[in-house]
């Protein structure tokens, strides 16, 4: 090959490289710039969430706590705080960092996106409880305010996330829920689980594995340094105190009553629905089929392997898996009542 053709080839190659790099929006440079901008936004939003969480707990965030939370050096945390101060989001004071009204609004917007996403992941995609937080943490920064509002409307304006945390409204109102950590709750007093802390995820996984769920009625039986034993009306459940401190409860006006579930009915037995213990898609499905509170349901026959089970509901035969039967709370009705549908 002669020099001229080499030159042409080189020029073509250089042109191609320049195109790949500089192409507007699709080029590598623009992509890089966008990724950097997003990373910057993620860092700021995560920092705001941390400062907000501290304020809720009645303490203030410090550069050190922020550095720990974001896994950056204290020096980088300081730079981040001064950048946020310039943007009018926070205000440094002696004991720590305070949110400005703008910063407060931004923090609430991110928390709102986070909790609505968790609701969506849990109800519509049925992700396990302990995996919600990490996924929502990544996606919360990518949604615009309009998209978050749309998500809220689609989910039917839920008021709590799947861990029991309140979801801020679009106007920025955040209810606070009174609750006590299980480790501080008196022995023998009936309680309802209202909140399962989602961080760290390992603790939540342990709590879920021990059989704890939101809305459960419990009573602390014994507490020692090694373990805490609770009674849920049917069985005793154990938890290490370090996990139990992530379970939050409020008082229950009556003694612990184990709910009777639809799945506990034998063929021929009947019950009346009291409440549905599920959200989102599953709840809508059950309601659509006429499984509304007050409805009489009769257990008809089980499937070949004991599951699913067919139930007679409003004259129709509907098959449910055991999990769905577990989510429907009933009061037993004598067999005589089952023959005369109300």
């Amino acid at each position: 090959m002669n020099a001229a053709s080499w030159f042409v080839l080189l020029a073509l190659a250089a042109g191609a490289v320049a195109l790949v790099l500089l192409w507007p929006r699709r080029g590598l440079l623009d992509r890089l710039r966008r990724a950097r901008r997003l990373a910057e936004r993620v860092r700021i939003e995560d920092a705001l969430k941390h400062i907000h969480a501290r304020e809720q707990r009645g303490t203030l965030a410090t550069p050190e706590s922020l550095a720990g939370k974001l896994s950056v050096s204290v020096r980088q945390a300081l730079e981040l705080i001064s950048a946020m101060e310039e943007g009018g989001l926070v205000q440094s004071t002696g004991p720590g960092v305070l949110l400005s009204p703008t910063g407060h609004r931004t923090a609430l917007r991110v928390i709102r996106a986070h909790r609505l996403l968790e609701r969506y992941l849990a109800d519509e995609l049925r992700l396990p409880l302990e995996e919600l937080h990490a996924t929502a943490d990544r996606r919360e920064h990518e949604l615009s305010e309009e998209e978050v509002d749309e998500l809220e409307a689609q989910l039917g304006y839920p008021q709590q996330d799947p861990h029991g945390d309140p979801i801020p409204t679009s106007s920025g109102a955040l209810e606070s829920v009174e609750s006590t950590a299980l480790t501080d709750w008196p022995v023998g007093r009936p309680a309802r689980v209202v909140h399962l802390e989602d961080e760290p995820a390992e603790a939540l996984a342990g709590i879920v594995a021990a059989g704890f769920a939101l809305g459960m009625q419990i009573e602390v039986r014994r507490i020692s340094k090694e373990r805490l034993v609770v009674w849920d009306g049917e069985a005793e459940r154990e938890l290490a105190p370090v996990f139990a401190s992530n379970v939050f409860v409020t008082g229950l006006p009556h003694p612990v009553r184990p709910p009777q579930k639809l799945s506990s009915l034998e063929p021929g037995q009947a019950g009346r629905i009291i409440a549905l213990r599920c959200e989102g898609l599953s709840r809508r499905r059950l309601l659509d089929l006429g499984l509304t509170p007050g409805t009489l349901v009769e257990c008809s026959f089980p499937g070949p392997m004991g599951e699913p089970t067919a139930y007679r509901v409003r004259g129709a035969l509907i098959a449910l898996r055991r999990e769905q039967g577990d989510e429907i709370e009933i009061e037993p009705v004598s067999a005589a009542g089952a023959e005369r549908p109300s």
Partner: protein, 465 residues
Amino acid sequence: MATNAPPTAGDILESAESLRRGLDVSFRDEIVGAIYEDATAIARAAVRTGRRAEPTWDAKLDRILTSRIWGIPIMLLGLAAVFWITIVGANYPSQAIATVLFGLEDVAVGLFDSLGAPWWLTGFLWRGVYRGLAWVVAVMLPPMAIFFPLFTILENLGYLPRAAFNMDWLFKRVGAHGKQALTMSMGFGCNAAGVIACRVIDSPRERLIAILTNNFVPCNGRFPTLILLGIVFVSAAFPPSVSTFAAAGSVLAVVVVGVLFTLLVSWALSRTVLKGEASSFTLELPPYRRPNVGQILYTSLIDRTLFVLYRAVIMAAPAGGVIWLLSNVFVGGDSLAALVSGSLDPLGRAVGLDGVILLAYIIAIPANEIVVPTILMTYTGAGMMIEIDSLTELQALLVGEQGWTLLTAVSLMLFSLLHNPCSTTIWTIYKETGSAKWTTIGALMPLAIAFIVCFLVAQGARLFL
């Protein structure tokens, strides 16, 4: 509002939001409950019910069809019966249609020749495009016209939901939806129809699993291959009086393997990329009804058969042209078909097949019906797709000349069961998921599984046998 000024939009939204907060969480239950109460009142006023007879025959039938002992055997027997009726019943009309359509081809070729059209035009149009079309119609139309009505009868009777009810425990164990049994049975007719049927699953995760695994149910287009292998390698060993049963039995065995792969892949998907908990499973078991003949004929023939056939024809016509070109364009003394299949041969041998079979599967991406005729065409070096009528002739060609063994038959059955879906199905997956990513996975994952499974089987067989 205390003031007299009309409220602004902002005021209304704000008060709606504060009121919403005050609502009990169960207010939606109450709305649905109220709707049902109204419906009950209307029904009570309008519908008169007689005294319920004691244990109704519905309930008795349910006890048998869903019983621990009889439920699953009845299901398998029913499936075998449907296959048998399809195999036996489709044979004669298939041959009749083939005779008429291929006769038409000869007439057209004669006409073209007498008009002095160049040989390549006549060849491409009539020996290629038209022949591919005619083949697909002849092979596909009769079994579909039998299979789909049978299937619709089962649907109309109310049996299909019971089958899903019986199978649900399996699907639950692999993290999938019980209604996947319904979409699978639809896939026997046509995988594209099966993929569309996945709309009945309302959880996105489980619908995707059902869509991606629907291909492991052999469709009508693949039955001819399976039936042919069943006849040549299985039923040849039986007396003629039971040979159709043996063929139906071997097809049923392949179907059971397909169901196993469906469960296995569903399990793998729901543990890895499509992780999540089983969604709510609710299945209505409608009362048994007498099938409505008019409706059955309309749904099965117009909605399903003609629709599927139309799509297949659109896809098969160009494939017919490609086959003709491949076997009539010569490069250095060899036809393109021979050259390509020669280069594919080492890969084919490694998975227990050969280059010709792989070539046939590449050409048959638009329509799996033409796999067998393409293989026969390439083996015999004919310039067009051919059919061999007598069984002994076929055995002589495959076993005698081409050296097919039981391993070839097993590998081909597995490959036919597991390989990539046809282009119609791939296009349908794209339409249903709206995602290029899942469509690619839906196309390539089965192909990879087919190669891996066939490779393991072939190598294992060569090692131990």
